[in-house]
Amino acid sequence: MKQLRPLLLLLGLMLLVAACQPASVDQSTATPASVSLPTLEPTLPDSGVLAPRATPDLAQLPLLAAHLARVQAALQETIPIVPIEDGLDDEQRQAQSIALSEQLFRRYARDPQTQAPFRSEIMGIYPLRASDIVEKTAVCAANPCYRVEMYNYALNFFVAAVADLREGRVLDVIGYEDAQPDIPASLTQVALEIAVHAPEVQEALGYTPETSDAVMASTKTSLNSTVCERSRHLCVAPTFVVGERALWAIVDLTDGRLVGVRWTAVGSSVAITEKRLEDETIMRQFCQQNTPLEQAGWSLNYTLTSSDGLRISEVTYQGTPIFDSVKLVDWHVSYSATDGFGYSDAVGCPVFSQAAVIAIEPPRVTDMVVDGEVVGFALEQGFWSELWPLPCNYFYKQRYEFYNDGRFRPLAINVGRGCGNDGTYRPVTRIALAGSASTFSEWGDSGWQAWTSEGWRLAADVSSNDDGYSFQISSVNSSFYVAPSTGQFGDGGRGDNAYVYVTLHHADRDEGDSDMPTIGPCCNTDYQQGPERFIDPTPEAITDNPLVLWYVAQIKNDDTPGAEYCWADTVLEDGLYTDREYPCPSGPMFVPTGIADANAG
């Protein structure tokens, strides 16, 4: 039985990882005074901006370019470690040489299985303090000893060697997982260069700063301490003080890019980190307000919800209302190897939400280009488990495609990796049609046959017309064919095997217009995915009525090499782990009947 686990397993497989060191807090002894209950921090109006992910423009960043060149050169060497070259005295240089000669130290710079090099760099060389001397380094009480610190970017791993200069050997090697050493002066300059060249920093400050502007008077240093706890990258925060405010610019030295900026009040004791910046910015800009978008004849609002993903609303095309709203209610994930094992995930805002998988980047709007021509635009939002692509972590995407010709496609995309290779993903999409008099039809032997009452179908059980359409929505102002995916869209999708439901859209009853809790369990393998709850026991008449269309794709994952689907993995490239994504897109295409018929004609 799996339950027969040792006590430590019972207690959650708690493993010690860092070490019995004093916490990073000091210990005063002042008796606390009585205070008032805490209140929320006042919010600065322009508190945070996230920088878009982009490849750094090395032509504008010569220090970064030079540093990366050194990294690439080191990766080709027998010892793939970037040493410190400048600013060392003779003893530091000797200590570095001793450490780099020590196999126990060097081995942290290569993958132990493949011997592929990790991106690694010596970050500091410091005289050993008396307080650092332990049994293994007791001789350092008499001998000159140095602590040589190396950072492994791939593993976010910090290793230190204690080098005895007199004996010319390493006495001890100590590793710290998920930890970073202080960075050398050369990397400080790289961080400052990235910060001062970032448009977000320049815009926030209102001028183009010099690197010398990033100096904090209180600490005599240009960098604030920060962490990139989500990406697990090496990050620092050049800080620019302007009057009573300080601008933190979080710089990711692993990727060589700006993460974002955030103002604080001078003297604030709150540490600004990658996660805090992301969460606050997304909450304030996308969870607490609608964002209008007008492009290519389309007009809509979008917002991140608590548990229904990225919701679009008031969608019109060339002035004609098309949808009241569209959103992704749930992801149901079941694993066939274990009956009833799986999860029902909501996606949504990063904090104060019912989401299990959250947005940590803002939504993006991108052009869709086919054969060099812009055919429309896409609005896309990702939702991550923080440890993705580790097993049992998830990466979901929503993508709304708006075509110049009036076509529309809401996609639910899974990018793995989940808890096994026997998973089936069932995203539940809710589409509230605009207008008060729509009719939903399916193709049959006698042509288009209107549904007279609420119901559901497995799309595969419905035949399609000569043009490949199975369903049609018609109203006074617009008519669409609805084409479930059978893999025909050229996006790598292999077909949805979707359930389609149509329910009456009640004006006086909230059946999903507001944010919905999880509406179905993980592991039903039939139509009972949640939308059926809104079909009345006696299905209501729906002809020429306001309607809600629900679409539940069923996507089986695959980890077969070369045929991966709904899957993700990591590979070691250029000394860093990079993600390999094998997305499985799903979702129906809405095609205006006029366009379709014209093309057919």
Partner: protein, 361 residues
């Protein structure tokens, strides 16, 4: 505990307090060779077991009454200096079921929906389990406490979604009867404001004061991103009557300690890494004497962690469990927590930090 407004760290190094499990890292990345400082780590793993056993607050041995008698000076009130939580009595139903004294109640959501009684062998292996039919009535459960009679008080805690834990029932304290083992609702605590759809949480922690026979429960029901609407309740464990409440505070972990200056309820904030305390009067009611005990907001490695459990042991030990909490239903596969261990400084009526340990559950 003392105010700590500024962080310090080992010179020239930044071993993160938010360290990652080596085993978990290996699951994703190829393994790296272990540290040459293996001796210290081995010792620490041994030490961890102790920390876990005394601090986890999720699994407790049910038939092992801790009747420690603090040998400490009397405080300004009538209580001996030390933990006010050390009277937990035997749960008779455990013996009735034929379970041995090495039994524990398990509410970990990854392993059980509700609660399960686990009997362990000498090596800590589970040899058998028992679940009373009523123990799943509240969905997933979290923190729990026993009184001196062996009754167990539990709070519901949603896991991944709210299918089994509807938010409108998130403020109900449940009670497992010591004699029968049956679980039933004790009280549905009234929130300050209406349910907020973006906040699926209600009760977060519960503790018991053996001196005043009071249950205390922290709740964040109704709180939103922009509004603090949580409360700490003092509840009669027999009737469920709310004796007192401290409003407008989003508290997570709570614990009661009898210090030299009197009885205080310590509470960690659910939004920031800060610990406060409030003085309690002789009936266990809240006073206006609230003080800030410690602040970790400026330490970047604690930026996302909050005190989810505050546990006092004997006359002079405090263990605070810090973990990430964002008012969402994210359930990381690797759950990182920090255990901060303090010793009571009776001269100053403060707490001195002794150690910090990072663990992965």
């Amino acid at each position: 505990m003392s105010k700590r407004k500024s962080g310090s760290r080992p010179a020239k190094s930044k071993p993160s307090a938010k360290s990652k499990s080596q085993s978990a890292e290996r699951a994703r990345r190829p393994a790296v060779a272990p540290s040459e400082s293996g001796t210290s780590r081995t010792w620490l793993i041994g030490g961890l077991v102790v920390v876990v056993l005394i601090a986890i607050g999720v699994v407790i041995v049910l038939l092992q009454t801790s009747a420690s008698t603090p040998s400490a000076p009397a405080p300004a009130t009538n209580y001996l200096v030390g933990s006010a939580q050390s009277c937990a009595g035997d749960s008779a139903f455990v013996s009735t079921l034929g379970f041995s004294q090495r039994s524990a109640l398990d509410t970990r959501a990854k392993f059980v929906r509700g609660a399960a009684l686990r009997e362990l062998d000498q090596n800590g292996n589970i040899v058998r389990s028992y679940e009373h039919p009523s123990w799943s009535m509240a969905g997933y459960l979290g923190s729990f406490q026993r009184d001196e009679f062996g009754n167990i008080y539990l709070v519901p805690t949603p896991f991944i979604n709210i299918l089994d834990n509807p938010p409108e029932k998130a403020n109900i304290i449940y009670r497992i009867d010591s004699e029968t083992g049956e679980m039933s609702p004790l009280v549905d605590l009234p929130p300050l404001g209406p349910l907020a759809p973006e906040n699926p949480f209600g009760l977060l922690d519960i503790t018991y004061d053996c001196d005043t026979h009071s249950l205390y429960a922290s709740s964040v029901m109704g709180s939103t991103y922009g509004t603090v609407a949580g409360s700490i309740f003092q509840v009669d464990p027999q009737t469920g009557e709310v004796r007192d409440r401290l409003d407008r505070v989003d508290a997570f972990g709570i614990g009661v300690f009898n210090g030299l200056s009197g009885k205080r309820l310590y509470f960690g904030l659910a939004r920031t890494p800060e610990i406060y305390s409030v003085a309690l009067d002789d009936t266990g009611a809240f006073t206006d004497d609230i003080r800030l005990e410690t602040v970790l907001t400026d330490v970047e490695t604690f930026a996302n962690e909050h005190a989810s459990s505050i546990t006092f042991h004997g006359p002079a030990q405090l263990v605070i469990k810090m973990e990430q909490f964002d008012f969402n239903l994210v359930s990381p596969t690797e759950h990182l927590t920090t255990y901060l261990s303090y010793t009571y400084n009776a001269d100053a009526d403060t707490w001195d930090l002794m150690s910090s340990q990072k663990v992965s559950e």
